[in-house]
Structure formats: C-alpha cells, structure tokens
C-alpha cells in the first residue's frame, strides 16, 4: 500500500515537472532539489545497491551536464526516479534512448528535446508492468 502511495506521489510530481518542461524547457529548483535531496538521503541510509544506483545515475548525468549535453533538472529527476521508482527509471532510460535516437536522426546531433515528459512516460508505462509482475 505504501509503495503505491510513493508511486502515486512520484507520478504527480513527474507530471507537474513534465508540464513545466514542455512549457518552459526548464523545471523550477523547488520541484527538483527537495526530492533529489530526499532520494540522496534515502540512498545513503539504505546503502548497498540503492546507493550504487543513485551514484551511478548522478555520475553519468553530471558528466553529461558538464559536457553541455543535458540539463541539471533532468539529472536530478532521473536520479530521484532511480531511488523511488526503479521500474519507471528503467523504462525512462529506454525511452530516453529511443527518443534521443529519433531526435538525433531526424534533427541532427545537437538537437534538443524536453526530457522530463519522456521520463514521465516511462514511469506511466512502468505501472502496468509493476501490476503484472506483482510489485
């Protein structure tokens, strides 16, 4: 029951962030920093694999940000998803790969797209997967 409450809260948060991203190509820090900090604290408290995954996503997204290839808000949203909605995170990464490839092929390598709606779509798609798998 609690897991579904967390999933619902993450979904509402993702939808709000996605709307901001579509409209302004940015997400306010008030929507990204607190969940990211909470996810980081939870990952540190849990330790082990949760911390490894959070760290992995943070490092990959940070270096992508460093090179100018991704936004900071995208990195914080994806790292938060990795901790609180891992199935959604996995589908979000797969969708990011597909959408990124499509944008790259159609509009060139430097073309950009709003990524948070893609993450939200991955999270939505993960819900039937979780129901089917009994998670």
């Amino acid at each position: 029951m609690t897991a579904w409450l967390v999933t619902g809260a993450v979904m509402v948060w993702l939808v709000v962030c996605a709307v901001y991203d579509i409209r302004t190509r940015s997400v306010p820090n008030i929507l990204t920093i607190p969940p990211f900090a909470l996810a980081g604290l939870w990952a540190v408290w849990q330790g082990g694999i949760t911390l490894w995954l959070f760290g992995l996503v943070f490092v990959v997204m940070f270096f992508s940000f460093w090179k100018g290839g991704t936004g900071g808000a995208d990195g914080k949203v994806l790292a938060t998803m990795a901790v609180f909605m891992p199935a959604g995170f996995l589908l979000a990464v797969v969708l990011r790969l597909l959408v990124g490839a499509g944008v790259w092929l159609r509009h060139g390598r430097t073309a950009r797209f709003p990524a948070v709606p893609v993450f939200a779509a991955g999270a939505f798609l993960s819900i039937p997967v979780q129901i089917i798998s009994g998670g």
């Binding site: 967390v6 991203d21 820090n29 990959v60 940070f62 290839g69 808000a73 950009r112 998670g135």
Partner: protein, 53 residues
C-alpha cells in the same frame, strides 16, 4: 569540480541533446546489464527496497 556540481544542483534546465541522451542511456543500460551479469539483481533488489518504504 565542486563549482560544476553546484551548477548541476542549481540548474533548472531540462533539455537533453539527442546525442548525449543516447550515449547516457546506453551507459546506464550497459552498467545495469553488467550488474545483472555479475549476478547482482540490482533492479529486483531495489524494487524490494522501494516496496518497503
């Protein structure tokens, strides 16, 4: 380095470049597959943790 981390944490930008999205997603998927290949069911274990919140 710390300045860059601070910039990352405070960045509101939410645009992905197609090229970086593909490479970043591939790195994450390969890393996850690597964990699975090493016998660490990373996603399964994290789903257990998530359902235990």
């Amino acid at each position: 380095m710390f300045e860059k981390i601070k910039l990352f944490l405070l960045s509101r930008e939410a645009n992905d470049m197609g090229e970086y999205a593909v490479v970043g997603a591939l790195i994450l998927l390969v890393a996850l597959a690597g964990f699975q290949a090493l016998g660490i069911n990373i996603l399964g274990k994290i789903m257990q943790v998530a359902s235990g919140i």
